[in-house]
């Protein structure tokens, strides 16, 4: 049944607005989650004064960042100085466009829980990550500051090195699904609940850990956050940024974390399928049945954000040469070995042709 | 519906702008980038022709008609362009270390 162009356009516009608003609010509350969790790990309360349990803290932080003075140093190269945080933030938000949040429910012929259902969805996420390097590289160079330039070159070298391990670790998942489409990849993990998820039944646990470590390095988070830690290189590539532009970098980092969590749940933990599979009887009407997968998806992404912050609060930082050696000499060969082993396993399992 | 000839004309325009940039510019990195532009223009031609051949084949045999030869060629051109860019930029860095300039008119003699 053909949907009219206007219906298609309006429903997609509504989806985009809802997803962007929810993502930005999640970014704000992820910052609060991090501060509270790191505080608890360090045996102190996190922010707890503003609102009950500190829940209004992100709003107050946002107001503070808006009201700070927006400095623009004289000698920066203006077009790139203003463009770089925009590139970083828009790339972080664009990845959410291909992520399916829930089951395939169509309304007026338009898929309700995914903005863009592309045949090459996984490659789009990799491509957007590749473009995100420019935000880092151009910000350091345009700041006209030696420390910023060095910090940004280190950070971009780190990002492009770990992009390889990231991409290679996903090949095992793609081999099992036979397609690059994210709904197909989740569909392969749907039949038997927990056991058919790629982490357990698909035997991609090595690939999962490679993906996790590469993703931590891609998003410049602990323990790989040398280029942007405050005590190193005078805060690295966002030294010269203040108020709104700094807030854009900050939001981009947390939005990237959320994207990594979404992709990890889709690829390794069954996306929106429940771990019980078909054991529980289906209950509730069409509303509950559509929203229950979204609930599972959000729960899993939250577990990943928890893991991110837990690792940040626990592990010390890598030195830069240790970091690069780890990426090139350990993760990449391990990812290639994973591809070979997965290929062998699939070849021996299927009937010979 | 866009006639495929328009894609070919666009790729011709991009190629000629690449040639013009190659001849005018005096910075060696910009000259190298214009070579990449020319390669991209040729890639567009290959993909346009691959689409044309698929459509022509569809009229002869509606069951098995996809022609991907043009796209395979583009794949190989991309790979070779990546290798060439890496080696070319390494050569440019070596030249910069020796002559300390990036202007093509000052590095066009083998002996200073």
């Amino acid at each position: 049944m053909e949907t009219g162009f206007l219906t298609f356009f309006l429903i997609n516009l509504a989806k985009v607005i809802v997803v962007v608003v929810i993502t930005l609010m999640s970014v704000a509350y992820t910052v609060l989650l991090e501060r509270k969790l790191v505080g608890r790990i360090q045996n102190r309360w996190g922010p707890s004064r503003v609102g009950p349990f500190g829940l209004l803290q992100p709003l107050v932080d946002g107001a503070k960042l808006f009201l700070k003075e927006d400095l623009m140093p004289e000698a920066v190269y203006r077009p790139l100085y203003i463009l770089a945080p925009m590139i970083a933030l828009s790339c972080a938000l664009m990845s959410v466009a291909v992520v399916p949040f829930g089951a395939d429910v169509k309304w007026h012929g338009v898929d309700l829980f995914q903005i863009a259902d592309l045949n090459i969805g996984l490659l789009i996420i990799l491509g957007i990550t590749s473009i995100g390097v420019y935000g880092i590289a151009l910000s350091g160079w345009s700041s006209n500051n030696k420390y910023s330039l060095l910090g940004s070159l280190r950070a971009s070298a780190q990002v492009i090195s770990y992009e390889l391990a990231l991409g290679l670790s996903l090949v095992g998942v793609v081999m099992r699904a036979g397609s690059l489409r994210l709904r197909d990849i989740v569909g392969v993990q749907a039949p038997h609940g927990l056991l058919s998820w790629n982490f357990f039944g698909g035997f991609q646990f090595v690939a999962f850990f490679i993906y996790l470590m590469a993703a931590y390095a891609e998003t410049n988070r602990s323990p790989f956050d040398l280029p942007e830690a405050e005590s190193e290189l005078t805060a690295g590539y966002h030294t010269e940024y203040s108020s709104m532009k700094f807030a854009m970098f900050f939001m981009a980092e947390y939005a990237n974390m959320i994207t990594v969590g979404c992709v990890a749940t889709l690829l390794f933990f069954g996306g929106w399928t429940s771990p019980f599979g078909n054991l529980l009887p289906t209950f509730g009407g069409i509303f509950v049945q559509s929203l229950l997968p979204v609930f599972w998806f959000v729960a899993k992404v939250f577990a990943f954000l928890f893991l991110y912050v837990w690792v940040r609060g626990t592990l010390p930082r890598f030195r830069y040469d240790q970091l690069m050696g780890f990426g090139w000499r350990f993760l990449m060969p391990l990812a290639i070995a994973n591809i070979v082993v997965t290929g062998l396993w699939m070849g021996l399992r299927l009937p010979m042709q | 519906m866009v006639p495929i000839a328009y894609y070919l004309v666009l790729s011709g325009i991009l190629f000629s702008i690449g040639v013009a940039a190659f001849l005018i510019k005096r910075n060696i990195i910009t000259v190298f980038m214009s070579i990449e532009l020319m390669l991209n223009a040729v890639n567009l031609t290959f993909v346009a022709f691959s689409r044309y051949w698929s459509q022509a084949q569809y009229r002869l045999n509606p069951t098995n008609y996809l022609q991907v030869n043009g796209q395979i060629f583009v794949f190989f051109v991309m790979v070779v362009a990546a290798a060439e860019a890496a080696v070319g930029l390494a050569i440019i860095i070596a030249i910069f270390r020796a002559r300390n300039t990036l202007n093509v008119d000052q590095i066009d003699l083998m002996k200073l």
Partner: protein, 165 residues
């Protein structure tokens, strides 16, 4: 709709290419080339080549142009000076390129009916499996040879760009 998308992204391609020609500082030329390559990726999508569109973004815009940007930033190439090249380039180069371009445009546009129209058809979208079916069966040897080629290029680049001690 297809025509509107083609005009927008084709126009972006030409604008980016002209900007590469007209800008003085190499970093601006590099950024315009990134715009050209991303617009070309959209044009590949319009022609149904979806894997190539993704590969164009990942390989060209996301890796090769990052390499160019790094080199421009590291070598700190300043604004260009206006020295003149050989006269032969201006005398024979531009008229030759212009003649070639007008000849090609004339031939293509006069035969545009023979070349057919391309629309946003689902039938002509070539999936990744079609490409890999050819690449891993008929063209397995060139595929492996290109991987050896990239290995040699990496070794060569590292050897050429290393500091002499």
């Amino acid at each position: 709709m297809h025509l509107a998308l083609f005009i927008i992204f084709g126009g972006l391609c030409v604008a980016g290419a002209l900007n590469l020609l007209l800008q003085r500082h190499p970093i601006n030329s590099a950024l315009s080339l990134i715009v050209v390559m991303s617009s070309l990726a959209v044009l590949y999508l319009l022609l149904g080549a979806e894997f190539l569109a993704a590969a164009q973004v990942i390989v060209y815009s996301g890796a090769i142009m990052v390499l160019f940007t790094f080199v421009i930033m590291l070598l700190n190439a300043g604004k260009e000076e206006r020295t003149h090249g050989s006269k032969m380039a201006y005398v024979a180069g531009f008229p030759g390129a212009a003649i070639l371009l007008s000849l090609l445009t004339y031939i293509f546009l006069s035969h545009r009916a023979a070349f057919d129209q391309a629309g946003l058809d689902d039938k002509f979208v070539t999936g990744t499996s079609a490409l890999s079916a050819v690449l891993f069966s008929h063209l397995l040897l060139p595929f492996e040879v290109t991987s050896v080629l990239i290995l040699i290029a990496i070794l060569g680049a590292v050897a050429l760009a290393r500091k002499e001690h």
